[in-house]
Subunit: 344 residues, 3 copies
Amino acid sequence: MLFTEIIKFIKNGKSGYIKSHFIEDINIISPASITLASQNQITFLEENNNLKENIMTTKASAIILFNDKELLQKTYKRNISTIVVSHPKIAFAEILNIFEKEIIPESGIDSSAVINSTSKIGDNCYVGPNVFIGKNTCIGKNNFIYPGTVILDNVEIGDNNIISPNCVIYQNTKIKDHCIVNSNTVLGSEGFGFIPKDGKWLKVPQTGGVIINNSVEIGTNCCIDRPAVGDTIIGEGTKIDNLVQIGHGVKIGRNCAFAAQVGIAGGAIIGDGVILAGQVGVNNRVKVGNNVIASSKCGIHADVNDGEVISGFPAIPNKLWLRSSSLFKKLPDLAKKLRQLDKK
Amino acid sequence: MLFTEIIKFIKNGKSGYIKSHFIEDINIISPASITLASQNQITFLEENNNLKENIMTTKASAIILFNDKELLQKTYKRNISTIVVSHPKIAFAEILNIFEKEIIPESGIDSSAVINSTSKIGDNCYVGPNVFIGKNTCIGKNNFIYPGTVILDNVEIGDNNIISPNCVIYQNTKIKDHCIVNSNTVLGSEGFGFIPKDGKWLKVPQTGGVIINNSVEIGTNCCIDRPAVGDTIIGEGTKIDNLVQIGHGVKIGRNCAFAAQVGIAGGAIIGDGVILAGQVGVNNRVKVGNNVIASSKCGIHADVNDGEVISGFPAIPNKLWLRSSSLFKKLPDLAKKLRQLDKK
Amino acid sequence: MLFTEIIKFIKNGKSGYIKSHFIEDINIISPASITLASQNQITFLEENNNLKENIMTTKASAIILFNDKELLQKTYKRNISTIVVSHPKIAFAEILNIFEKEIIPESGIDSSAVINSTSKIGDNCYVGPNVFIGKNTCIGKNNFIYPGTVILDNVEIGDNNIISPNCVIYQNTKIKDHCIVNSNTVLGSEGFGFIPKDGKWLKVPQTGGVIINNSVEIGTNCCIDRPAVGDTIIGEGTKIDNLVQIGHGVKIGRNCAFAAQVGIAGGAIIGDGVILAGQVGVNNRVKVGNNVIASSKCGIHADVNDGEVISGFPAIPNKLWLRSSSLFKKLPDLAKKLRQLDKK
């Protein structure tokens, strides 16, 4: 693809085109990272990226940059063609979209799939080998159900979804439209509901369901449980990374992002736009407000107000945690000084 | 189901029936949560539940309550039929049991299952599509083996078990009776046994097995490893949530409950009735006494005596941890005061 | 196997044979742990093992010991045959290797496997029931692909690998030789790449791949993601336990060992010989030097130099962490003393 075509494409995109510069209209064959790029490849550099020094060594023929005079001068000197935008990473994502050779299986139902006759599958779906679909399940159009996935009874799947290989989707699960469920993820498994009684555990039947709203993406090896009554709900546009546990009856708002190994215990309520970093835990029935950010390994034991940035275990405001943590490692000194003062 | 029939049912149950009250013998169509219940539904409210205020707004026609005069008066005023019991949650679980429309596949072996001729399957079992069963495996009666599950050689499965879709059960695993293994869980995979030698890792063959005793329930995406010699053992009645790691050679007692993302390292010994909250970790070879309770994210580095309640990382008594944690966030103040005293 | 044959075998091994002692050339039927061993079984005891007392009660007929006069005297008295070596655990691993009855399926492709005609499978491979293999995938010789595993398009697998049941291997994944991938593990799933934009998440296409080098072993239910561009790389000889998350674009060196539930965020670079204990987390783009050891639950927020031993969250040097942690539980006392001093 010619560099001038890429410029045109970026101008029509969402990255905030500012300007561009080139001597020759080179042919761009693919995108690459700044450290690995070679001739005829395009790369990018965003603000605050610690790879800036690579501008002097990269072999990329073109680069997408944020608006920085000094860096731009360097690219001129090294004869690298440039596109300057407000959000280089967005521009790079758009370029990846052009060059991505998506591997899309042809629509059709593989002969080895076992599908109950009471279930319906819409137009233009791919149902891969060894898929199982139970009774009274209703699947819309343009869905990809990859090999080895098991969909049990009474499941509703809308349109334009991707269900990756070896997933399991239980009864009473509803997946709306434009969702991606990655491999080996389980939706709608029974919640962990037991009551202590005479030293044993009495089981609470989990008769509820799971609702996955539009444009949700769920990583690999995740678990989203169904509750005793009602539904576990994932809000529109929320993105969930790998190995994440969502307990029974949890409600998650819209456009959240949860990193890998996050665990949310039963009945917790999470607002919109919440960001939970890796290995964060949220306790039973806790309410987390809108736009909360929790840093990695944070343990959220109590309700959190809108917009808070929290850290630590139990979670406290991030700035306080940074100060307290830096004093934690000085505890031996503090204790020593205290002993000295005490002796005086 | 008529309300009077439900009363009769609860009287015969384990929740400790006290009394009931109604004006009309209404028809109950299903159970629901207090916030979502509508007419002709029954709900419940247990002590210390922060949803008490909902008693004034719920649309439920009937409610199971603990013995509280004030709340009871409110239900009378709102014309809600009531059943008063000692343990409302147990009564509600019993009602869920009545109304649950369990989806039970018919017994029979699907034609797409691949079963080695040396293996035996007892009467009245369901073996779903695309199940694989290896050599010399012995499966009792009344078992459900859901689609996509792989059971390798020399496995013994007793009676009345549920093995969910896409599980993997390795050689030398024994599952007794009345167990539930949820989806994508792996039992009997090889323990992580390596010895450092000249900068590389020498593998220790894992020739042991896994024993799952009666009435054990295991969540989705769990891993229970087999050891080099001997067995990894899960005691009768123990319940395990999702994404839990049980290392090789671990022995777990009876009637324990482990929440999601718990990890127990190789050779640890856990007593009876132990409760581990979410994301708790237990170190190699540590002994945890009977009835220990470890709060979420706790890191158990050393042996713990019977009945202790522990928190934190490394784990300390819960009450001490609460006090120390509340001082952790005051460390900046404490350090400041110390500096001031030092100047004097 | 006769005891004298075992001696010969150990002499030829890597455990550092020192001497042996026996009265009668007994027949050894199998290896066992020191607590469970019975007559005609062989066990072992390594230095610093807290099971030393069992030397007086074990029913084992033979034992592999480290060079300890006192213990040796005890075995003489109890008439237990002994082999003394520098590394008893290595000797025991070698003996396990002899006695292990490996269950190896016969080579051949099961008729229920669905394999695209454009893919190639080398000589002497086992491809189990219900395996799916997509387009243009190239699999070498002597591989075991267990039942239910899904291998998508454009995958390269070398020789002598074991891919366990129900794994998923995505496009652009390369597995070299002598690797083991345990059950339900997913390699090459799309990295968690989203850019915040107007309150929503813009997806970054993940067009890269995953490279698993020689002699890597990966546990059950693990996730190794592919990046936007370039490759996620696991170095030769590295061993990974269960439920581990390796984010997109992570580079891991050679001969590392990661325990269960470790999570490594996108773009992190891990050196050679790094040991991460259970539930450790590594932040985005962090660089961890060679031979670093991180204790369990450690949170690595910043770069770590070669050879450091670290603990805690955020990670600090292990010795400092031990001292600070022991003072953490004394915070109530320290605060009290400070108040007293303040009053004076």
